[in-house]
Amino acid sequence: MALPTYATPIQRTYYYAYLFFCAVVFFFLVAPLIAIVPISFSVSPFMVFTEGMLAWPPDPEAWSLRWYRNMIGDCSAEVVSSTVPCSTKWMKGTVNSFYIGIIATFIATVLGTMAALGLSRPHMPYKALIMSILISPMIVPLIITAAGMFFFYARINLVYTFTGVILAHVALATPFVVITVTATLVGFDMNMVKAAQSLGAKPMRTFFKVIMPLILPGIISGALFAFITSFDEVVIVMFMASIDQLTIPKQMWAGIRQEISPVILCMATCLVILSIVLLTTVELLRRRAERLRGIKAR
């Protein structure tokens, strides 16, 4: 959306101010993440920029891979700190977090999209009631939900199982999908469904060929919310998961009363790099696919 050539100077000023503002916001979003990367390489367990780190020329004593080695479970003598325990738990937590997160996201996205489709029908009865029930897990403070869920899941023997944790995360994540998908559906023209159906498409086909492509941005952002809800969720995990279901947040919060472990910064750095790689790959693949199909990018 470049500026048209006939834009007035005032419009130009506005436009550049607007771009500048957006740049500032982007910076605001990522600045703290940039700040933690160097600190994750610090030798000190304190999360501050030490004098050695700021010195010029760089002081090699101040930098190390100590916390990274701790994270991957390398507990040799020079890594061990008396304040930060060393264990293989981080790796176990990573595996579990992805496992729980991916399954929960999948279920929540399917359920949430279906619920949103149903709720956006004009003649759905008790719409407000159903909606309030659906979004209540979001509103009731998590810790109360967690305690309530514990009693419920204990009755059906699901506490301290992967199934229990996943189902609990689904319950938490579904409202996010419902909200984002309903929002997208508002701009959606229901005549298209009628058109598809009058042309003979079965409901399933209508959904996959007509509705889904149009509301895909909503579904994707809903799924992202769902994944992140599960991936970063700690309260429920504290209540309902045993050590077998250890996740990254659970490990991060261990011992928080005494110490915020510097290893969390390493974990964060790794996840940031991983997601940059993933998102860039997806984008490159998309461009390639577009080129192959001969469609020009918008």
């Binding site: 304190f46 008396s82 304040t83 009693f151 204990a154 023997n157 045993s242 011992g255 928080i256």
Partner: protein, 367 residues
Amino acid sequence: MSKFLKAFLFASVIFAPFAASAVTVASWGGAYTESQQKAYADTYSDPSSIVFENYNGGLGEVRAQVESGSVTWDLVDVLPGDAITGCDEGLFEDISDEIAANAAPGPDGESMAEDMENNGLEYHSGWDCCVPQIFWTYVVFYDPDAFPGEKPDSMADFFDVEKFPGKRGIHTWATGIIEKAMVADGVEPNAVPTVLEKQTGALDRAFEKLDTIKDHVVFWSSGSKPLELVKSGEVVMAIAYNGRVGAANLAEGENFEYIWEGQVLDQEYLCLTTGAPNREAALDFMWHASTPEAQAEQAKYITYGPMRASGIPIIVNNEPWGPGGVDIMPHMPNTPERLAVSIVSDPQWWSDNGAEINERYAAWMGN
């Protein structure tokens, strides 16, 4: 899809009952649990039968487990107030007979309870369900470089912002700080619990004293924060857990000074959950973890003091006891000289009044 889901649900339900076989000990995590692992589990006859699980304190989870009948934590490491409440409510099992029969006696044949009383502790109902672990304290510390001239050495100095200008780091809940304020107000440290319990208006006195530093305070809520605050110069003195300061001094080459006067000792207990799935094995581990030897052993890894009096001589006679051949006693809270100027926090009083005082403290912070 639904087939997959069913199979999945089914499989996890089937596998669920096999989960618990080792004794699960819920503890605070971090360096503290690490020291328990080394001092208690690794020295136990079967180290692999002990698994540590993390929690962040309080009895919420324990009550949920016991009330719903799905207990997975065999043992829980708790503060004394929670030991009392848990024991009264039946969340922890009353094992006073087993403790009397099986807990290791001291070197002179004194019972465990007598051994603890020798350390200045008084019986409370938590003793019926739990075995003692360690003393830890809320201690004030500072970086000597921040005070080129005279150095602070008392609670009065901590509360005197004219003599020692600069901000103070204190925590966001009331335990410990109330007692310190009383000391700064001139109460003999050892007498503080009695004064708080018996004297009307004692609390008002404490809050009035707190008012004097209100504008010079940075509040913290996680244990490593006070160290970062002092190290970065944001505050000149702070209250911290002494073990965290000890670790910084011993392992990270810091040079922080303690103000032992007016330190507030708090206790840790290991309690047996009612309906623990591995009751017998858990009891056996409790006897091991409460021996004077095991408690002294823990001091090798974290500077928290044994709650059994007979644990101290083991350390003193075997110095250097600390990591890398350093003496550990200079960093320990419960030497006789230090105990003489300390407050042993009264768990019964706190469990009676804690909720109300914390509300008042929060109101004080917020205004």
